[in-house]
């Protein structure tokens, strides 16, 4: 077995903090604790954790500020971060942070441990196509599209071909749904209102749980967007960029992708 992994736990609720310490210790993690972001920064001077479990609302220095500090001007922090949230402001969370996972309070112990393990081992949850009974489960796709008409159109194309479709109408909801029930393929519209489609994919690519999902970024074809599209298609994390004149093209793209 490899060396014991180190977790830095930052939460101002000392009760929960100590309880989580018990949980992690039972799985032989080395646990360091801090009561707020400021203390967390101090700890980081001597400790190099494999994962930071971070609460958001804390006195002195909250989770957001702590996160920005450890990024040191970079886009991503040096350490993987799992955010604990009381589900207050998910949009802000997804918009401003590039996190590796999130966990709602209260949680089940087994879910917390799985999430932590997944992040640390960068193990993948996705891609399970055969259930316990060995039956073939239909492919799950998630469509993130803020135009209800288009959402319906794309959805019915996939439903008609036997896929399970999980729809979402904005980026925040999309991230929550994709992390909640990990699909095989996620189709994300480029022009989302709250968080742009390519950013949504980027954030999901960073989360351990959703890193192995295949992502398609799409946009209806238009001449003036061609140049922008060219640029975006070369971005990391996007399996495929589809500019369609007919949403049917998305179906063939997904089919091709799942074959490979």
């Amino acid at each position: 077995m490899s060396q014991a992994k180190k977790i830095l736990l930052i939460d101002d609720d000392v009760n929960l903090q100590q309880l989580m310490k018990v949980i992690f210790k039972s799985k032989n993690y080395i646990v360091e604790t801090a009561n707020n972001g400021l203390e967390g920064l101090e700890k980081l001077e001597t400790v190099k954790p494999d994962l930071i479990v971070l609460d958001m609302n804390m006195p002195k220095m909250g989770g957001l500020e702590f996160y920005q500090k450890i990024c040191e001007g970079q886009e991503h922090p040096k350490y993987p971060v799992l955010v604990l949230t009381a589900r207050a402001n998910m949009e802000q969370l997804f918009k401003q942070l590039n996190i590796d996972g999130f966990m709602a309070k209260p949680f089940e112990i087994v879910d917390l441990l799985t999430e932590v393990e997944t992040i640390i081992e960068k193990k993948s949850n996705a891609g399970i196509k055969v259930d316990a009974r060995g039956a073939r489960v239909p492919h799950k796709i998630c469509v993130v599209e803020n135009n209800p008409e288009m959402l319906n159109k794309i959805g019915s194309i996939f439903l008609g071909s036997g896929y399970m479709v999980n729809p979402a109408q904005n980026g925040t909801e999309g991230i929550e749904r994709i992390a909640g029930a990990v699909p095989d393929v996620a189709l994300v519209s480029l022009g989302l209102e709250d968080i742009a489609g390519d950013m949504v994919i980027l954030k999901l690519k960073l989360m351990a749980k959703t890193q192995d999902v295949k992502y398609i970024l799409y946009t209806p074809k238009s001449a003036e967007r061609a140049a922008i599209a060219q640029k975006i298609s070369q971005k990391e994390g996007i399996e495929r960029f589809v500019e369609f004149s007919d949403p049917q093209e998305l179906l063939s793209a997904v089919k091709e992708m799942l074959k490979g």
């Binding site: 609720d13 989580m20 949980i23 039972s26 019915s156 999980n166």
Partner: protein, 382 residues
């Protein structure tokens, strides 16, 4: 006593003006008269005039033009035009354009003139009154909306604030029950088991309150998509089969023929079905649960029924079922502890789909929860 001046007469013939003052002496309102346009404008600016009567043919300005000016500046004032028969077209046009309330033809009958003026004042008062009402309503409405916003904000904040301490309690209990801090005996486990089930119920309650508040406020977007209802039902049954089996209950389906694909939010529909099937399992001791679908295309909807063989619900309780925090005396040991919000949430979701939900029951035989969903979209948009 001085009468309030409420009516203004403008006519450039002195003789007519002279007669007017005498004519209105016995009326309860005061009348101002003038032959000068400037003077008329001055009176309008200083007095609280309700009705303006203007002659059409005047040297300084045409009556219709003057009344149009009045309309622009004082839109509430009732305007009346004095006309000779030769000006009939002008008067008609003025009425059609909404610039004039009535016209009085010259020569007039005294009684007719008085009647018209009285009616005009009444008309003014009526409009003013309904305007005040409207304003009051709007203020009340705005207050209500603000209060609703505060309540929503409060509910959401409280829910989030509650989650943090709840997380500690739940985690503490789970740690002990899972024996992560040493062995516990059977009695200790039972005691903690009771705490655990209450905590889990509290968690569901907080989730449900937040969920219901969100749906009610229209904050939750429904993601409608034309979908196969049977597949959604199959999904839910699959997830509840084990629970039913462990209680010796069967779940069977009776799918109607030709049930079309319909627009629905599958996640939310799963929530509804989970709730109804879960309830059916919870309240049925013997027998089974049947999920039935019917195609009523001719009436533009499909009906889904969840039928159990439980002890049934008393008729007087049926209507209360979908209200918040209503838990009907079931007589059963309700070991799982519902939140009393599940059916209220179901109702909101079905309503947002443009559908309807209700229950039918025969005590001793069983209960059917039914909901209909429109085939063509006619859902409630917020």
């Amino acid at each position: 006593m001085e009468k309030n001046i409420q009516v203004l007469f403008l006519d450039d013939e002195e003789s007519i003006i002279d007669g007017m003052q005498r004519l209105f002496m016995r009326e309860p309102y005061g009348v101002a008269t003038t032959t000068q346009l400037d003077k008329a404008r001055e009176i309008l600016a200083t007095e609280k005039i309700k009705v303006v009567v203007s002659d059409q043919r005047m040297s300084q300005i045409a009556g219709v033009k003057f009344l149009r000016e009045v309309k622009e500046k004082y839109p509430d004032i009732v305007r009346i035009l004095f006309t000779g028969y030769t000006d009939f077209t002008a008067a008609e046009e003025a009425i059609n354009l909404g610039e004039v309330y009535r016209f009085i033809s010259k020569p007039w009958k005294t009684s007719e003139l008085l009647m018209t003026i009285r009616q005009a004042i009444e008309h003014y008062d009526l409009i003013a009154k309904s305007k005040t009402h409207e304003q009051e309503m709007e203020i009340a409405n705005r207050k209500l909306k603000a209060m609703y916003e505060i309540q929503k904000e409060f509910t959401s904040t409280v829910s989030h604030e509650l989650r943090t301490p709840l997380a500690s309690i739940k985690t503490a209990i789970d740690i002990v029950v899972k024996r992560m801090v040493g062995e516990i005996n059977a009695e200790q486990e039972e005691v903690l088991g009771r705490a655990k089930s209450s905590v889990d119920r509290l968690k569901r309650l907080i989730d449900d309150i937040l969920d219901l508040t969100k749906i009610e406020s229209g904050k939750v977007q429904m993601n409608f998509m034309v979908n196969d209802l049977h597949r959604v039902i199959q999904d839910v049954i699959e997830s509840q089969k084990d629970l039913a089996q462990s209680r010796g209950l069967t779940i069977k389906v009776e799918y109607g023929e030709h049930v079309p694909h319909i627009p629905l939010d599958s996640d939310r529909m799963i929530q509804v079905l989970n709730n109804l099937i879960g309830n059916a399992i919870k309240f049925t001791k013997k027998g089974g649960i049947t999920v039935k679908t019917e195609d009523k295309s001719s009436e533009n909807h499909v009906i889904v029924s969840i039928i159990d063989t439980g002890k049934g619900i008393a008729p007087e309780d049926l209507s209360k079922l979908f209200q918040k925090f209503q838990q009907i005396e079931s007589g059963h040991e309700n070991e799982e502890g519902g939140t009393g919000l599940g059916l209220a949430i179901c109702k909101e979701i079905v309503t947002r789909h443009g559908g309807k939900i209700w229950a039918e029951s025969q005590p001793g035989v069983g209960t059917s929860f039914k909901f209909l969903l429109p085939i063509q979209e006619r859902r409630v948009t917020q």
